[in-house]
């Protein structure tokens, strides 16, 4: 634990990791309830293409991936709305195209460079100060927007038609959630990598949903699981000399399993 107080890079990792994980945790609750658990997975593949594009253009991959993902996610939304596609088909198509683009761009820019691997597996300990501040600011904005709109978001998720009649602007909120999700996925990629980022969205929220009797409780428990995962994951990884991304996700899974068993026992 004392290592956290000694090393600057650990503190930066912790700070960025906490904010990003909180953004994932609050969004995750809505996405799971909207039966949209796979959107995180799909968008992470898009983010991969964005990172590869950034490396190819030799621009900041994080920023290129952000812009790229936001537009792609709105594209997915349009594809889904224009019907004729079943369930997850739109996500499946767009994410495969993202992966394909990423592979081609990565090859064109020479080879699969070390930094691309960092994005795949996550390297929060290598996060640069400027990225820390960008991440913290964006993640805080996501949390504020979600928490600030939680009631209409909840209404829309629970009963779309009744929400419309009550004057909730459902399409605008759909778009907002989509954009926030893509931003969050790109940030989360910094923490645990493209391959694991959807876990940050799904696992804490799933743990929170096991135990919550109210929506507020679901959000709070999800946040708690996210914070515990990041702190314990970082500390354990540092002391055991294991990958941070893997440890964060594993701690999250242990919390999920514990809340699952707790609920079983209670009922």
């Amino acid at each position: 634990m004392e290592a956290l107080f000694t090393y600057g890079f650990l503190q930066r990792a912790l700070l960025a990791g906490l904010f990003i994980a909180l953004a994932c945790a609050v969004l995750g609750v809505f996405l799971l309830l909207r039966k949209d658990a796979m959107i995180g997975h799909g968008l992470s593949h898009i983010a991969f293409a964005g990172v590869a594009l950034g490396l190819f253009l030799q621009m900041m991959p994080l920023v290129v991936a952000l812009v790229f993902s936001v537009f792609a996610s709105l594209g997915i939304m349009k594809l889904k709305e224009s019907a004729g596609l079943h369930g997850d088909t739109a996500i499946a198509i767009v994410s495969s195209v993202g992966m394909a683009l990423g592979i081609i761009l990565a090859t064109l820019s020479g080879n699969f460079s070390v930094s691309l691997l960092n994005y795949l597996f996550g390297e929060i300990l290598a996060i640069e100060p400027v990225e820390v501040w960008l991440s913290v600011a964006l993640a805080a904005a996501v949390v504020l927007l979600v928490v600030g709109n939680y009631r209409p978001f909840m209404y829309l998720t629970f009963d779309r038609e009744a929400a419309k009649v009550s004057g909730v602007r459902v399409r605008r909120l759909d778009a907002l959630i989509t954009v926030l999700t893509s931003v969050t996925i790109v940030l989360g990629m910094k923490v645990v990598g493209i391959l694991l980022v959807s876990a940050l969205i799904v696992i804490p929220a799933a743990a929170g949903l096991q135990l919550a009797a109210s929506f507020k409780a679901a959000l709070l428990l999800s946040c708690l699981a996210a914070v515990l995962s990041v702190v314990a994951g970082l500390v354990l990884a540092f002391h055991l000399d294991l990958p941070v991304s893997g440890m964060i996700v594993l701690v999250g899974f242990v919390l999920f399993a514990a809340s699952f068993l707790w609920r079983k026992k209670r009922s």
């Binding site: 609750v29 009631r151 629970f158 009649v165 009550s166 949903l209 109210s214």
Partner: protein
């Protein structure tokens, strides 16, 4: 917003409304008015266009022909949706694990101008408590919605629909999930809303058997409006005999 003050002016008037889904005609030239203080039942067999008519009134669907006036205004330039309460047909078909307490479900519909302010929060508290008390569910407010019985859930959805103190409340097939025993209590509750809260009620059902003596007006719909008048007249009318004679399958229970 301004609702018509005069008693004789209709809260809602449906004028020559026609609608079809593709080539399937659903409503033909439907015209009627809803007045303040009515306890109106719209009855008709399954597939007769009741839900479609309601969605047109609520602004969820656009009529092909005709128009709907609410408080004398076209719905397009009508900013007063909080003045309409709505309990959807499938309200109780939600994800039973959804993590919302009864209280949160009621609060969902709140439209407070400045919800963040202290005054706003206080107003919200009061509105939610009042709505829960009216439907007699105050003691269950912290229970997760999925853990309430069908009849209790129905009450919570009514509380949600009246939390902004609407002038008019629409209920689409509200007794589907409520057992026969509870239906008496359910009508008592609706009557109380009319008399004590001053809410006009429009209840939509395919089940003529549940049309209660407390209902004051009846409209029968089957693509066209077959009958519209007082409940007493309705019971004496040929429409009822025709319906009971079986042609309309009014009492069928295909949920």
């Amino acid at each position: 917003m301004d609702w018509p003050a005069a008693e004789d002016k209709a809260l809602i008037s449906v004028e020559n409304v026609s609608f079809s889904f593709g080539s399937l005609p659903v409503l033909r030239d439907v015209t009627f008015r809803i007045h303040a203080g009515d306890f109106l039942a719209i009855i008709g067999p399954n597939g007769s266009g009741k839900t479609t008519l309601l969605k047109i009134i609520l602004g969820l669907l656009r009529p092909e022909r005709g128009r709907v006036l609410i408080g004398g205004q076209r719905l397009d330039d009508f900013a007063g949706r909080p003045s309409i309460g709505y309990v959807p047909q499938k309200a109780t078909h939600f994800d039973p694990l959804f993590p919302a307490s009864a209280r949160e479900v009621v609060a969902m519909a709140l439209r407070t101008p400045r919800p963040g302010s202290r005054e706003g929060r206080h107003k919200e508290e009061t509105a939610v408590r009042h709505a829960l008390q009216v439907v007699g569910m105050d003691e269950f407010k912290n229970r997760r919605i999925g853990r309430l019985s069908g009849g209790q859930q129905q009450r919570i959805f009514i509380a949600r629909a009246i939390v902004n103190r609407p002038r008019i409340l629409f209920l689409d097939e509200p007794t589907t999930g409520v057992d026969a025993e509870m239906q008496g209590h359910f009508y008592e509750l609706l009557e109380r809303l009319v008399k004590e809260e001053g809410i006009t009620i429009v209840l939509i059902t395919h089940d003529i058997g549940i049309v209660d003596r407390r209902i004051t007006r009846v409209a029968c719909l089957n693509e066209r409006l077959v009958y519209h008048g007082s409940h007493a007249e309705f019971c004496r009318s040929d429409t009822l005999k025709d319906m009971l004679a079986g042609g309309h399958h009014l009492i069928s229970h295909q949920h």
